[in-house]
Amino acid sequence: MSSLKRRLVLILLAATGVIWLCATGWIYASSRTELEHVLDTRLQEAARMVHSLVAGGNIAAAAAVAQAAGPPDAGYERQLSCQIWSLDGRLVAKSGGAPEEALAGPAEGFSERTVNGEPWRVYTILDPDKGVRVMVGDRIGLRDRLVRDLVAGLLAPVILIVPLLGLLIWISVGRGLAPLNAVAGDIAARDGEDMRPVAPAAAPAEIRPLLEAINGLFAKVEAALRQERDVTAFAAHELRTPLAGLKTQAQIALAAPDAPTREGALRHILVSVDRTTRLVRQLLALAKLEGTPAPPPEAAGETDAGALLRDIVRQTAKPEAIHVVVDETLDTVKLKGDREALHLMLRNLHENAIEHMAGGGSIAWGPCAGGLCVEDEGPGIHEDELPLVTRRFYRGRSRSGAGSGLGLTIATMAAARAGARLTLENRRDRGGLRASIVWQRGAA
């Protein structure tokens, strides 16, 4: 059972109850006023009737009428009590059940008084000509009972109806929420792979925004899953292909019929081991960049750009035909950011440049506005591939044999960690790539 259903039923029942209570209060108040008015009029009429008899000199008849008003009993019969007093304070006549004590004071008109502990509402007529005072009274207790019985009569069906109403509300709410349950059932019945959007068209308008949000989430999760699958597939390819090469070359070395074949195979094994080593290094760097949080900017020190670059150039093997120039002005440039990230970024850019210059040429590191840049004399990158090359394992059309498709990905991530932005563009002056690293607030 959904708690939404319970809430709705409770809210509906409470609201109905409150409305009913208000209505009952209203009816109680208005019935009471109306009743008071009717009873007061009756009191007045009864008093006038008795008085008219007295006025006709027929005190005995008046006394009989008063008598007829009768003793009080449990019902509403003989509710009225009547007293006829002489002006000198003698009780001339009274109805049965009327108290001996005066029901009201000497004043004419309506009054209320407690006699023998019982509250009375009394109408008094004063007749100085005949020397009598006629008092007709109602027990207020009886009046109250009348109102109570009236309201009780109204409330009795409510007590019967409330459970029926509750049942009706319960069933209606259940039916009203059925589309929600249908959608929940649809989603619950899916396995982890099923990312088809839930059809919002069939759903009621109220839950459509929810469904659209869920569908949006589905799309995001599916994209993330696909991305993960792609990366896994690429990683498998990039790792297994060199392993296959190694194994094949090793088997050739073992089976080689002559020395040159064996030597060639062993040479290939050496190259392949170097390449695989670099791939593993890059995969680990990538895992580290993704897996550890960036150090806080204030903890990062400053690194001398020239010295760091010369370190990297010294550590990186390169063919004879490639010439590397590190501009001397870089010695005065201090780079902000995590030193490890800076090292990763510059090293991967440097290796990338070397990789793409099989034909030799020069690699130039120099300062540029807000940071530093490197220019190579390789084939550059096709314009349409420029936004793609920083993707994991993406290798452009002009790929080199040695590349893993990770270098520029690592450089971009490391640059972001060092608080900088890596921009790649083709050189305008000649063939080649220009990579610039720019800090928003300057390098130093």
């Binding site: 392993l243 296959a244 090469g245 094949t248 390449r275 044999g401």
Partner: protein
């Protein structure tokens, strides 16, 4: 046996060329889908070893295009993706076999021989014509049970003729089986090999059909 290898990793490619070559095959290489399509359109191969992830697309597309043209050249897919669904997709695309990286070179050779022989309509591993028997797996030849020593090229020429006994093979066809694109074809190489083979397996086994080529006489 002439084989096209489509693979973009240079070291693996070298290994495949040398490894298949050691097993007696003539190997041509292609590193992209475009190269592979051009090669398949230009020449007939006994088998193709095809990588799936290539720089300019998927090897599966090359395979699908090949089958669409009605070309039945046997294809072995070679790929890093070797989960069951990948294998199923590859085979359903028209591949004859599937091998995951890294693989055993001997197994690759055996599988290539197997799909090539199926491609030629044979089920048995041995080539037999009369008393002459060739075993492509070991590059061994026997005549009346006696082993005869053949060079790799001689074996290739003889197996080309024995694959379809009685059918005439032109000199050009035999040359294609012997040399890859990058190799220099010696002008009278086929004649020299045929001459040497006749000395080893008997004059009458290989017949010259003047102006057309050569054939091995069928058992009939």
């Amino acid at each position: 046996m002439r084989i096209l290898v489509v693979e973009d990793d240079p070291i693996l490619m070298d290994g495949l060329k040398v490894g298949l070559g050691l097993a007696g095959a003539t190997v041509d290489d292609a590193t992209t889908c475009a190269d592979a399509r051009a090669a398949l359109a230009a020449a007939r191969f006994d088998a193709v070893v095809l990588d799936v992830m290539l720089p300019d697309g998927s090897g599966l597309d090359v395979l699908a295009g090949l089958r669409m043209r009605g070309d039945a050249t046997p294809v072995l897919l070679l790929t890093a993706l070797d989960e069951a669904p990948d294998r199923v997709r590859g085979l359903d695309c028209g591949a004859d076999d599937y091998l995951g990286k890294p693989f055993d070179l001997d197994e690759l050779n055996a599988r290539v021989r197997a799909i090539a022989r199926r491609g030629h309509g044979r089920a048995g591993p041995l080539l037999k014509v009369g008393a002459l028997v060739l075993d492509p797996a070991t590059l061994a030849a026997t005549l009346d049970g006696r082993s005869i020593a053949l060079s790799r090229r001689e074996f290739a020429v003889l197996s080309a003729l024995m694959e379809r006994p009685g059918v005439i093979r032109s000199r050009m066809e035999i040359e294609e089986r012997l040399y890859g694109w990058q190799e220099e074809v010696e002008s009278n190489a086929v004649e020299v090999h045929i001459h040497n083979l006749r000395a080893k397996v008997g004059r009458e086994t290989i017949e010259t059909v003047r102006g057309l080529g050569y054939r091995v006489r069928g058992p009939a």
